[in-house]
Symmetry: C2
Subunit: 331 residues, 2 copies
DNA sequence: TTGTACGCGTTATCAA
DNA sequence: TTGATAACGCGTACAA
């Protein structure tokens, strides 16, 4: 596979590179015959412009960066599918980085992508990220940033999220309708947007049905498996809830495992709910029901917003917040 | 976050860009005092060379491409983790593409990555790929390619694979030791290297234990859920095997679901084995045991080989084939 | 020890 | 209608 440049074509056809360049871009100032000649020859030798040269010239890379906590996770890999479909169909590359829930890694990723001159980034914040100073540094100098899933509170950004409130509300209400009254709520660190919204949904559902919120039934938990296990064990030992609602994708499995290993100490029909895109939850025993997020669509929408912004002439002034519906998957 | 170029530094310090360039690269021909001056100023303004300019100059991008059938799959996402860790630690970017088991998409991905001037690629072939003509086009013109997992038969390439033979052998032998004699073998298309190797392991285990291979118990199956379902149903309706061994990661779940939905028609202890890196298999009911591949290590090793090759002066003549051990995860 | 000039591949500007 | 030249940012051969 030979690499052909404009110069090669020019030499072969006895033209100047600028003529060839213009002919290929169908410029009005070029003779039709010349255009045809150039087009045919270019096709024959399979000419493709060197994207790196274009990047240098335009100071654009036609690549976007994605920063997520983890790839090996259904929610994020589905979201990435959405991002890639949108990006590739519009001629953009996607460079994926993982923060592994670490603020340091998130900073490194940002710097890395910025230096590589990606045109903009899509990011879902790490569990350790408490503010977005490190992101503002970049976004302020005209570097496009779109948040999805785990977004900051600050305004002044495009955001794409699931309707976490409604999802948590629906799951909680479902459990209440099953006759449950002491529903444990295990959730991610309060720094995350999703944590607050889901907790709110849980509380509002209880209130609607006249159940007093018991703060002993709400526990925040990091992403460490041991911590998840300890949390569940503690619940089973002391509060003895009649249902579990794990409000974090990353947490759900560890909690579920701890729950499963002690299921004999609980009534057989104790329901367990997660907030996860795990696509095999219906194969579990005991059953695992989940709130499912439209991960693919979230990714695709976020990418679309970013690319629209990159390709629009004027600087965006009004920022969108897209909220997509979740649905319950009852097992 | 300002973008600083050599020229900016040169102007600020009243030097030429070449002096600045050499000072930063610690050239012997530059005065120590100048070096220090430049280094300090560069650090202060946070100078970083523009990788795109370097790419254009060196005709290298310090990026590698990865083509896999699907990201949203534990095996591949774990392999990608290995690839990324190796690549990032050596200052390379990773661009990920999915073939979605389509030859056409695989070709597009190749062209895309090649045009983007990635320095080389890591690829696990799609299920539809029957030969590697489309890859030879590139590899012949000095474009580095390393295969992993699903590799071609052709010699002349670096390859990193799991010991598929031994994995399948061990799983089959385990089932035999459980007293099973009619073990169904459901596997991927014969075009894939992994298919043949795993089938061979299965057969050899049967032979070792004096069980005649019954070809009626071996079925090839595409990656379509319906096809998987039909295959399992057919087995249950006619051959009534006393154990199932699904030899494909992509297939295992669909087969398992079909199996589960008809488990009441089978003896309660009918074992089901997969060849998958699904990390929640132990939570399933009925039980799902698996042959697990060292996915992370496969990715990391493949990336290491590719990068070593890219950074080595001489052209590689003897190609390595790395074979990594699998292990059984009995549930 | 430092500076000037060039080239990587492309496009835009200016000249012919 | 076409061509020559400069510029994007960098490193290096050559000149001073």
């Amino acid at each position: 596979m030979e690499v052909i440049t404009l110069k090669d074509i020019a030499k072969a056809l006895n033209l100047s590179t600028s003529t060839v360049s213009r002919a290929l871009r169908d410029s009005y100032e070029i003779n039709e015959k010349t255009k045809k000649l150039v087009a045919e020859y270019a096709k024959k030798v399979n000419y493709r412009p060197n994207p790196i040269a274009l990047s240098l010239k335009d100071n654009k890379s036609r690549a976007i960066g994605v920063i997520v906590p983890e790839i090996a996770n259904n929610f994020f890999s589905q979201a990435i599918n959405g991002i890639e479909d949108e990006a590739y169909s519009r001629g953009y590359h996607v460079v994926i980085c993982q923060s592994h829930e670490s603020l340091e890694r998130e900073k490194e990723n940002l710097r890395h992508l910025f230096e590589r001159r990606v045109d903009g980034i899509l990011i879902s914040l790490s569990g350790k990220t408490k503010d977005i100073k490190h992101i503002l540094e970049y976004s302020e100098s005209n570097f496009a940033v779109v948040f999805f899933d785990r977004v900051p509170e600050s305004s002044g950004f495009h955001k794409v999220v699931a309707d976490n409130f409604s999802g948590a509300f629906a799951a909680t209400e479902y459990l209440i309708q099953q006759g449950k009254k002491r529903i444990a709520h295990i959730t991610s660190p309060l720094t995350l947007s999703i944590t607050k919204e889901r907790l709110e949904g849980y509380k509002k559902a209880l209130e609607k049905h006249g159940i007093v919120v018991d703060n002993e039934l709400i526990k925040y938990c990091g992403f460490d498996p041991e911590e998840a296990k300890a949390t569940i064990n503690d619940f089973i030992n002391t509060q003895k809830p009649d249902a579990f609602f794990t409000c974090s994708d990353r947490l759900a499995l560890h909690c579920y495992e701890a729950f499963q290993s002690r299921k004999d100490e609980m009534p057989a029909d104790t329901p367990f709910f997660g907030f996860t895109n795990l696509n095999v939850s219906h194969l579990f025993s005991p059953k695992l029901s989940t709130v499912v997020q439209p991960a693919y669509e979230m990714g695709a929408r976020a990418a679309k917003i970013l690319l629209d912004q990159l390709e629009s002439k004027r600087k965006v002034k009004d920022f969108e917040k897209i909220v997509l519906e979740t649905y319950l998957k009852i097992s």
